[in-house]
Amino acid sequence: MREFTATVLENVCIAEEIWSLTFALEEEQAVRPGQFCMIGVENFPLKRPIAICKAEGERITVCYRLKGEGTRKLASQYRAGEKLQVLLPLGNGFYAEESEKRIAVVGGGVGIFPLISAIRAYAAQKEIYAYMGFRNKAAICMEYEMQRAKRLVIATDDGSYGFCGNAVQAFKNDFSNARPDVIFACGPLPMLRALKAATAGMGIPVYVSLEERMGCGIGACLVCVCDRTNGKKARICKDGPVFEAGEVVL
C-alpha cells in the first residue's frame, strides 16, 4: 500500500448517479480482486473508500455512486489531467482456492463494483455465475464486464430489466444452475444477511465484503471495526473488507 499522486484519465457518468473514474498511478501496482482504495477529495479531511473495479498496470478504474458531498465533488471537479491523491491497494480481497472451480458472485447496489474485479480476475480459470442487482434499468452499468461470467443474471428491484427482485432472490432462483463451490458477495447488510440465511447449512463458503466509515484506511485508527463471532473486533480496512460470513456478526 502506498500514497500516490495519480493523474485523472477519465471521469464520466455511466448510469443514473453512477460515475466511472480512471486514473494513472506513477507506476504499476499489483492489485488483488476485492481490494479498495481511499480517494482524497480536495478540502475534505477524510478520504473516501472505493472498491477497485479494474487494475491494468498503472491504470486503475473505480465506479462510484453520487452519495454525499465528497462523491459529488469528485464527479464535478476532477477532469482528465487533474491530480488525485489515492492510497492503495487496501484490504485483503476475494480469494478462491484452487479446488473451488465454480464461483457465484452476488452483488447489490454499489456492492457490484468489487465483484467486477473478482469476475475479471477469475473468469479465465473458473466458472463464474454472476447475480447482480440494481434499483432499475437506468442504474445498470458495467454489463460488458459482468458478461465475462459464464452465466449472468441481472436483477432489478422494479423488474424494469432482467429478473424482478434482488440479487439474492435471483441467485436462489438459479441455484441449481450455479451449484457454486464458493460465493463472493457485496451489498447492503440486509442483502448479505439474506444470503447468509439462504446458504446456511449448505457447507458452501460465503465471503462477504463489508462497508464502514473509515479514518486511516490502513488499520491504525480502529475507526472501521465490526464484530467477529468470537467476540473480538476486526478492522474492516485491514483484516477485511472481505470476511467469511460465519466469522463476522452481520
Binding site: 475534505f44 477524510l46 478520504k47 464502514e212 479514518g215 486511516c216 488499520g219 485491514k238
Partner: protein, 303 residues
Amino acid sequence: MADLRVTLCGVELKNPVIPASGTFGFGREFNEIYDISCLGAVATKGLTLEPRAGNPVPRIAEGHGVILNAVGLQNPGVEGFLSNDLAWLKSKTRVIANVAGKTLSDYEAICAKLDGLVDFIELNISCPNVKAGGMAFGVRPENVAEVTRVAKRACEHTPLIVKLSPNVESIAANATAAEEGGADCISLVNTFTGLAVDIERRRPILANNTGGVSGAGIRPIAVRMVYEASRAVTIPVVGMGGVTCAEDAIEFLMAGATAVQVGTQNFTDTLACPKIIEGLNRWCDAHGVKAISELTGTLCPNT
C-alpha cells in the same frame, strides 16, 4: 540543512514532529507506507489497564475542515502493548505511551507498569472520572492537579506529559494545575466535544452521539490555547490541533510549543508527518533559522 533536534524533558528528539495518539496505532501500519524512524517520536493509541472494545460504529463523521471521532479507547490493554509492540516501536523512535483510566488508581497503576520502559508517558485526562460523576478528570483544575500528582508518584524514571482537554473554563488555570501536580510537560489540545447530525434521520451520525472534533478547523483555537498555556507554565509544551503542514507546525512552535503532534492530517495524507519534517527543514533554511528550537515561544503579540 537546519538542526531539527529538540529536547523535551531532557530527552532528545530528532525533530519536533510526532503523530498524535489514536491516529497512528502503534506505528506498524504507517511503517508499511514509510519508515517511521524519521519521526521525532510516536504517541501511541490510548492504553488502559485492561483491553477495551470501544464504542459501537459509526465512530467517525466529517464536517468542513474537521472530523469527529468516538472510537472510545479500543486498545489491547497495556500488557498487550508491552509484550507485542513496545520493543519494535522503541527500535524505531522515541515512544510516548498515551494512557487513560476511569479512576485515580487506574492512572497510577498503568503509569507504574510503563515507568522506565517508555520515553514519555502522556496522560489523557479527557476521560470520564467515575468519582466525579462522569465529569472528565481534565475539566476542573483541582482534578487535573490530583490526577497528575497520583500519576507522577508512579513515574519515577519517565517524564510525565499531561494532555489537557480544551473543553474547560481556563486553559491557563488547568496548565498551571498540571504543573503544580508535578507534570514534566503538558500537551494540548485534545479534541473538542461536538455533535454531527444526519438531518434525514434526525439522529446523530455517531453511534456515541457526541464525538471529539479535530482537524484543520480547530487550529486557531488550539494555537491560542497553546499560547495561553505556555505563558502560564515553565515546563515545556507540546502543541497540537489541526496541524496539516510545516507552516501550521511553526505557528504552534512560535506560540510556545517545543514539539507538535499531528493527528487528523495522517488520515488526509498518510505521508503528512514526513512531509511536515521536510517542510520544516526547508522553511528554516529559507528563513536563515539554524536550529528549529530557536523558534519556540518567539511570537511577539501586538501591543
